[in-house]
């Protein structure tokens, strides 16, 4: 069914799709997630980058074997229809929960800074309406939105200038001051911030120049990684280890350090402008989930997105106790790691069943 997908994404689109899907709510709390290694966290993002590049390779390799199919279809081809469909349902479910997790986290930030003493039902609703509007435009619209978001929000970094000035570069040393357990904990918590690149497996069929897709996604990944690196670097310079561990949204506090004569505090503008970054990430995931449903029913229907969004809304708004919510979303996030390793596994299956599953 998806053999006639139109090739619409050029190189720039791919770069920024990969880039924007990675920068979302994760980077907001990244220094805290990495705080178990203390000041030595500075170089972890680079390690993440290497990891991401390594795991990206089997994804693109597999996709190149089936240039017109997305991961959902590849699952069905390689694992057989029944097993593939079950797995796809799980992936869609995971995506939905993941989206809910991202929105939940961001709304928590909004509620505590921009809209105190207010329920977040309506802000979430409005956010989701806008999300549907963006996703309905198709993957190319999302890609364009990602590009614009990057250039619009990159300016936020200027406001960390004061933090850099006040910060102390010597915090970086000694470079590798941690043990294996601490590193493992930091990796486990922090890698979530850079997960989004896996979405390549879903929009791959739409890419014009698929041969170069690996290079483009890699560029996107390393743009994001350098942004993460800068964030972590500035946080390490500016904060004490105690602060790194106890400040939930370190970016918020970095922005607070800025001083302008006409705007007293930039943190509110920064935090609300962040909605662009959240929108792009969530839009890519929602679009992928929608594609999943399309492949499940082999039919393209508009209402899929509405149903998905409604589910997301319910998950975000069901009054679970905070503790349960945290645990729930953390578990969901860990399942996301599975998706990163999955293509390597699929590649092995592909090699084993090469004869039977020729595209």
């Amino acid at each position: 069914m998806s053999t006639h997908t139109k090739k619409i994404l050029n190189g720039y689109h791919v770069v920024f799709l990969a880039q924007s899907a990675m920068i979302g709510s994760g980077i907001l709390t990244l220094p805290r997630e990495l705080s178990s290694v203390g000041y030595s966290q500075t170089f972890l993002p680079i390690l993440f980058g290497v990891f991401a590049s390594l795991t990206l390779w089997p994804m693109v390799w597999l996709n190149l074997k089936y240039p017109n199919e997305n991961l959902f279809r590849i699952n069905e081809i390689l694992l057989g229809k029944g097993l593939g469909k079950i797995l796809n349902v799980l992936i869609i479910l995971q995506f939905t929960l993941f989206i809910a997790g991202i929105i939940n986290k961001y709304m928590h930030l909004i509620q505590s800074t921009a809209l105190p003493e207010q329920t977040i039902t309506k802000p979430v609703l409005l956010f989701l309406l806008l999300l549907i509007y963006i996703v309905n435009g198709g993957i190319k619209s999302i890609a364009r939105f990602c590009m614009l978001t990057f250039f619009l929000t990159i300016g936020i970094f200027y406001f960390t200038y004061w933090a850099v000035q006040k910060g102390d570069f010597s915090h970086l040393f000694p470079l590798f001051n941690f043990n294996g357990k601490e590193l493992f904990e930091a990796m486990g918590k922090g890698y979530l911030a850079v997960l989004g690149y896996g979405a390549i497996m879903f929009y791959f069929p739409y890419i014009v120049d698929q041969k170069k897709a690996f290079k483009h996604v890699l560029t996107g990944i390393w743009i994001s990684i350098s942004l993460c690196f800068i964030t972590v670097l500035i946080s390490v310079m500016y904060f004490s280890e105690w602060q790194l561990k106890h400040i939930e949204f370190s970016i918020l506090n970095l922005l607070k350090s800025g001083e302008l004569s006409f705007v007293e505090r930039f943190d509110i503008i920064g935090v609300t402008l962040w909605v662009f970054l959240i929108l792009t990430t969530v839009a890519v995931y929602l679009w992928s989930a929608k594609e999943g449903i399309v492949s499940l029913f082999s039919k393209e229907k508009k209402y899929y997105i509405y149903v998905l969004t409604a589910i997301v809304f319910l998950i975000v708004r069901i009054p679970f106790p905070q503790e349960f919510q945290d645990k729930f979303f953390t578990t969901v996030n860990y399942i996301a790691y599975f998706l990163i390793v999955w293509p390597s596994f699929l590649s092995i299956i592909y090699l084993l069943r090469k004869k039977q599953v020729q595209p």
Partner: protein, 370 residues
């Protein structure tokens, strides 16, 4: 087509949602009291007298600032009590100054109060903290005939200026940063009411979350210099190096600190190099008519170096005795230490520390002096 419908539902939805906003009443600006100063006074171990100064905007009001004061155990409870006293909702979004009286600083749980403010997203990072000699409540309530508004007055006083270069300008972030960073001990300026005006009379040194010792402005000035503060205050030196009593003023254009440790925490040794570059703007003393040749100037430079070295050494020895490290000297050792650095290690380090100080002054011109 669907997209267009969605566009319109979004627009219409927005309009309708605004209609709902009546239910959640937001207090508009004029019904808000924007606290400018918050002050803590010691009552007993658990209780603290919380005072909040709110500037008045109504032109008819007699006093420009309204001060509310309640005894409380918890900060947030105190704020609720004050809101009950006032007719307005009190917000801390524009909080500028936190005052702590000396007794509370010495005995109370300062860190907890500041941390509470730091956790709250309302106040920004610009909140400056200062210690008050005597009662801080009285200080806010006092009448300053030359100053229209106490909020601006204290805030302006605490902001960095060249004349009070010894003032550490500790804001809420700095305090938490130095208090939680094992290599630092916090510094806070002390203000005092003298007649009709306020004055920064010294700097309070903290240790283990409580005020511990007072430093004179001169000592504090050297500490700020060693921290490497960017604001270049003129350096005034009283020379006593074999030429009788001399005093001079050096307008610095460049100043740099360099620290080099021997990376050994067993027997720590630190080499501190200070570079000053500046214009000699004023001089009184024996050599007044003798400062034309480069030789005589370099002689003077050497004398300045010696004098500054002595003063720095004196201050550092004091810190060494007190076992506190407001400069963060131990950072030079932590950098090379694998493992967790603790407050105790800083204490031990500073008490064992051997310091080698080298000052290098270069007078680039004698300014308008002839």
């Amino acid at each position: 087509m669907n997209k267009k419908i969605l566009l319109f539902t979004t627009l219409i939805g927005l309009t309708f949602l605004v209609g709902c906003s009546r239910a959640e009443h937001k207090v508009p600006l004029e019904e808000i009291g924007l606290a400018g100063i918050m002050a803590f006074d010691y009552i007993d171990e658990n209780k603290v007298q919380l005072s909040v100064a709110i500037p008045q905007h109504s032109p008819g009001a007699k006093a420009s600032t309204q001060v509310f004061s309640v005894p409380t155990e918890l900060l947030s409870k105190g704020i609720v009590d004050i809101e009950a006293l006032s007719d307005k909702k009190i917000l801390f979004n524009q909080l500028r100054v936190v005052l702590i009286n000396e007794e509370f600083a010495r005995k109370g749980r300062v860190e907890r109060m500041i941390q509470h403010l730091y956790r709250n997203p309302e106040p920004g990072n610009k909140v400056l903290i200062a210690i008050v000699k005597g009662s801080s409540e009285e200080l806010i309530n006092a009448d300053y005939p030359n100053k229209p508004d106490i909020n601006y007055y204290i805030n302006d006083l605490l902001l960095p200026t060249i004349n009070t270069a010894f003032n550490p300008n500790t804001n809420i972030h700095d305090f938490i940063y130095t208090a939680t960073n094992p290599v630092f001990d916090p510094l806070l300026p002390i203000i005092e009411k003298k007649d009709d005006k306020l004055e920064i009379t010294g700097v309070a040194l903290f240790k283990n979350n409580n005020m511990f010792e007072t430093l004179t402005p001169e000592e504090a000035f050297i500490i700020q210099d060693l921290i490497g503060k960017k604001k270049l205050a003129p350096l005034s030196v009283e020379l006593n190096q074999g030429h009788g009593k001399e005093s001079l003023m050096l307008e610095r254009v460049k100043s740099r600190v360099k620290m080099k440790s021997n990376k050994n925490i067993k027997s720590p040794k630190l080499t501190i190099s200070l570079f000053y570059k500046g214009t000699l703007v004023e001089y009184t003393g024996e050599r007044e008519n003798d400062l034309h040749s480069p030789e005589s100037l370099s002689k003077l430079e050497k004398d300045i170096n010696k004098q500054v070295e002595e003063e720095v050494k004196k201050t550092l020895n004091k810190l060494k005795e007190l076992k506190v490290d407001p400069i963060g000297l131990s950072e030079n050792f932590r950098m090379y230490y694998d493992g967790k650095w603790t407050k105790e290690m800083t204490e031990e380090n500073i008490s064992k520390l051997e310091v080698d100080i080298q000052v290098k002054t270069s007078i680039i011109s004698t300014g308008t002096l002839d």
